[in-house]
């Protein structure tokens, strides 16, 4: 393709990563559980710390600290149809922006982004704000998620139930 010769590699990478992030966001917003689960690497870790951004999840409580098998369990619980905190499912729409992409020395790609998420559920309507840190690996034409960290702006406060995929 001629375009690849014209578009610098870093801009192309930024575009590819952004498209991946937007795709992941859509799967979460639309509760496409299986398609979302398929984005994970076999050693994937899904982490949402509590009480700050620099805690050690091996020592202190996190809101979510799922290894790959626990991610699968989370998805299986949704599929029972009796995960009441998501039955009925929340109406969710998020806007993800401010995407920064770097290639790490081990070849993995780290992307950072901000997201504002609107959630409507039986309790009411709520807004969440967070910083995402993605650690991605190349897989085929796309990427797989090795780690996704979600730094909620209010993670030191008492939070309402957070049962949709964030």
């Amino acid at each position: 393709m001629t375009t690849n010769k014209i578009i610098p590699a870093d801009i192309l990478l930024h575009h590819e990563v952004s498209q991946f992030i937007f795709h992941e966001a859509k799967l979460q917003d639309e509760h496409e559980y299986d398609a979302w689960e398929a984005l994970w690497a076999d050693d994937g870790v899904y982490w949402i710390p509590a009480n700050g951004t620099d805690i050690d999840p091996e020592k202190e409580m996190s809101i979510i600290y799922d290894n790959r098998s626990r991610i699968a369990l989370r998805i299986r619980q949704f599929h029972t149809g009796k995960r009441y905190a998501q039955e009925p499912k929340s109406g969710v729409r998020r806007v993800t922006s401010n995407i920064e992409v770097t290639t790490l020395e081990n070849g993995e790609i780290e992307a950072r982004a901000n997201s504002i998420i609107f959630e409507a559920n039986l309790r009411g309507e709520f807004t969440w704000a967070c910083r995402y840190i993605y650690n991605l690996r190349r897989k085929g034409d796309g990427f797989e998620m090795k780690k996704k960290t979600v730094l909620l702006a209010n993670n030191d406060k008492a939070l309402y139930t957070l049962a949709f995929l964030v």
């Binding site: 949402i48 509590a50 009480n51 805690i55 091996e58 020592k59 202190e60 409580m61 996190s62 809101i63 979510i64 600290y65 799922d66 626990r70 369990l73 989370r74 299986r76 619980q77 599929h79 029972t80 149809g81 009796k82 995960r83 009441y84 905190a85 039986l122 309790r123 030191d156 406060k157 008492a158 939070l159 309402y160 139930t161 957070l162 049962a163």
Partner: protein, 420 residues
């Protein structure tokens, strides 16, 4: 100012029915603050959260914050976070180590036992007979007492002692500590804070409601192949127990004893925890250690706000008539690092805003809160198992694991507190 007794609790609480307004009436909530939260013994924190001299941590009694300190003399103090000058919050840090607290507004400085040690520009107070430093310290929670590291506070100068308040439920705290090879638990893993738009009493009652798990938690029981489901089955041999004074439990020991397998209570086997088993045997002798490891930790609700759910410690905090925060952490047993790690992992999976269990409990709290605002039938029916309830050898009411003996006990105690 004495609270005028306008609400007749006798007509709102019957032995097997309670009136829906008890969960959403603002006046009742205000009266509960005075008669329960700012009067009786309330769990505040654990000694291991402030291990060193001059450590402090922010805690609460009901909606009100308190600073829990270990002062210079290693005495535990519970201080109200309100400057005696003009009322500013003296401390806004969650935890730390400090000999002194300086109010940022006009720089009055207090020791970590609450005494006013100095005010800025002292000339303005010199010769003023009312500016007596001894009278202008931080207010203290009137009574502080601890049992096996669990620290409780009561804002009433007088009343039953902590031992009298805990009564038979004290033994449940002993049971928690027994599971540690060193006989002590620690609270060192940090808290998740889960907010729910529901009255605090729905949470208290749910903690020892053995009727709901088979339904509310069937989603996770079925996919996690967890053994917990059977404990709350219709055929379970587990029991509910009412210790009086509002303290209740679901006693799972009959089920665990039936299987007679050490560590089954934690869903594991001695083989997977060789060091823990070795340390337990060394501490208690093989026979006693085996019994302890079969029985496991209790599922205990210490009224009004400390819930020990086998491997977790919850603190229930009302913040408004229809809003409650559950603070939750993994219990940690002194001298059991491998077990502790697994307890943290399981806790993170189960509880908090995204937990496999608690997110669904919380959903039920909120739906019931909205539900009871419907006009009719006005009453909630808590009569399950009343006809098959009996007294155990200690005289406490017990019944089947799914029976509402705990709820009835909780309301009996509540009525006695509110009628005082």
């Amino acid at each position: 100012m004495p609270v005028e007794n306008k609400i007749d609790f006798d007509t709102l609480i019957k032995s097997d029915q309670v009136h829906g307004s008890l969960y959403h009436n603002e006046e009742i909530y205000k009266e509960e603050l005075e008669k329960i939260w700012f009067k009786t013994w309330v769990y505040v924190g654990h000694e291991s959260e402030i291990p060193k001299t001059n450590d402090f941590i922010m805690k609460s009694i009901g909606p009100q914050p308190v600073i829990m300190t270990r002062d210079r003399k290693n005495k535990i103090q519970l201080l109200q976070n309100r400057c005696p000058h003009r009322g500013n919050q003296v401390c806004v840090k969650q935890k730390g180590n400090a000999k002194l607290f300086t109010c940022p507004y006009h720089s009055w400085t207090f020791s970590n036992s609450g005494d006013l040690v100095g005010y800025a520009f002292p000339e303005g107070y010199e010769g003023n007979p009312n500016a007596d430093k001894k009278k202008l310290g931080l207010a203290k929670v009137a009574r502080v007492a601890s049992y096996r590291g669990f620290i409780f506070g009561s804002m009433a100068e007088e009343g039953p002692s902590l031992e009298e308040h805990l009564g038979g439920a004290m033994e449940m705290l002993d049971r928690v500590c027994l599971t540690s090879p060193e006989g002590e638990i620690e609270v060192t893993a940090g808290f998740l804070k889960h907010k729910t738009r529901s009255n605090w009493k729905f949470l208290v009652e749910n903690e020892t409601d053995g009727y709901h798990p088979a339904f509310v938690h069937s989603s996770i029981f079925s996919v996690a192949e967890s053994g917990i489901g059977g404990l709350y089955d219709n055929k379970s041999t587990a029991l509910t127990r009412d210790y009086g004074n509002g303290h209740t439990e679901v006693d799972l020991r009959p089920e665990f004893r039936k299987f007679d397998e050490p560590m089954r209570w934690f869903g594991t086997t001695p083989k997977k925890l060789p060091d823990y088993v070795k340390n337990m045997n060394a501490a208690y002798g093989d026979t006693r250690a085996r019994e302890i490891m079969i029985d496991g930790t209790p599922h205990a609700m210490i009224y009004p706000n400390l819930f020990i759910a086998e491997i977790q410690l919850f603190v229930i905090q009302p913040v408004a008539v229809d809003e409650t925060v559950q603070h939750v952490t993994a219990l940690q047993f002194k001298g059991a690092p491998v077990l502790n790690r697994r307890m943290r992992q399981q806790t993170m999976g189960s509880v908090g805003p995204a937990g496999f269990l608690l997110a669904d409990d919380s959903e039920m709290y909120e739906r019931t809160q909205r539900g009871v605002k419907s006009k009719q039938p006005e009453w909630l029916f808590l009569g399950r198992g009343e006809q098959r309830e009996y007294r155990d050898e200690d005289g406490y009411r017990v019944s089947h694991a799914t029976d509402e003996t705990p709820s009835r006990g909780i309301w009996r105690h509540y009525r006695s507190l509110m009628e005082e």
